[in-house]
Amino acid sequence: MLTVFYILSAITLATAFLTILSKNPIHSAIYLVLCFFSIAGHYLLFNAQFLAIVHIIVYSGAIMILMLFTIMLMNLNKEDEQNKPLLTRIAAAVSFCLVAFVLLAAFVKSQRVHEYKASGEDFQSIKVLGQVLLNEYMVPFEFASVLLLVSMIGAVLLSKKEHINN
């Protein structure tokens, strides 16, 4: 299990970097799909099966299809993007290193509250999650549906507006 964790982490970080560094947006999207799949693998390591499935469906399915569709709609699948000025790129790399250093240093220094002990209790099966979602979090669940509806209407309105004006 330890080896699986390290391999998955390496894939996650490497594909995340390749997403950013590859010139062609289509390649970026494909590396991002790999990154999402490896994160779903992490969820499976936590034994959160339902979340892993939902993650694959929502991210690798819906969101990435939407992005690929937009890339192809805008005909961006060519490598003609100019780089930012060298100074900006150096500044980006430096700020990346600094943020990573600060975050990692803070977490290395902090102490853990308690060691993990498995109680054997079932807390993340689909049954338990469904009960929590529909009992305690009933109102946020309904509001999430309202949010999705509003964003759908907003997306349609935003991409239609040009035609109304003309």
């Binding site: 299990m1 982490s9 970080l13 995340a16 997403t19 950013i20 970026s28 991002l32 999402f36 994160i39 992490h42 969820y43 390591l45 936590f46 034994n47 959160a48 339902f50 979340l51 939902v54 991210y59 819906a62 969101i63 992005m67 937009t70 890339i71 709609l73 805008m74 961006l76 993007e81 100019q82 980006a92 790399a93 700020s95 990346f96 943020v99 975050l103 990692l104 977490f107 853990r112 993990y116 498995a118 109680s119 079932d122 807390f123 993340q124 999650l129 929590v132 979602l133 305690e136 999430a144 949010l147 999705l148 964003s151 759908m152 907003g154 997306a155 349609v156 935003l158 991409s159 040009e162």
Partner: protein, 106 residues
Amino acid sequence: MENILQEIGIDNYIYLSALLFCVGIFGVLYRRNAIVMFMSIEIMLNAVNLLLVAFSTYHQDAEGQVFVFFSMAVAAAEVAVGLAILVAIYRNLNNIDIDNLKKLKG
């Protein structure tokens, strides 16, 4: 109920999530293409989700995973609206280079 936390501590997941978040920040600062910046934002959201699931397992409480569901719903809504905005920008400017959008600069 076996899971990974019995073998390795939560520290490794904290470090992984922090690094993944930093990669997302790097992407937002480094690229000019707005779609790749969107992808970097997705990477940052995923780093936070991963840490939420890790702590949910650590405390053996389902509520962290419920929060991950909500953040996935918000991410889906954000991508839909954001890509619609990008399409509108592309219609006006014929590219989505983020450095061309400086009309508000004054």
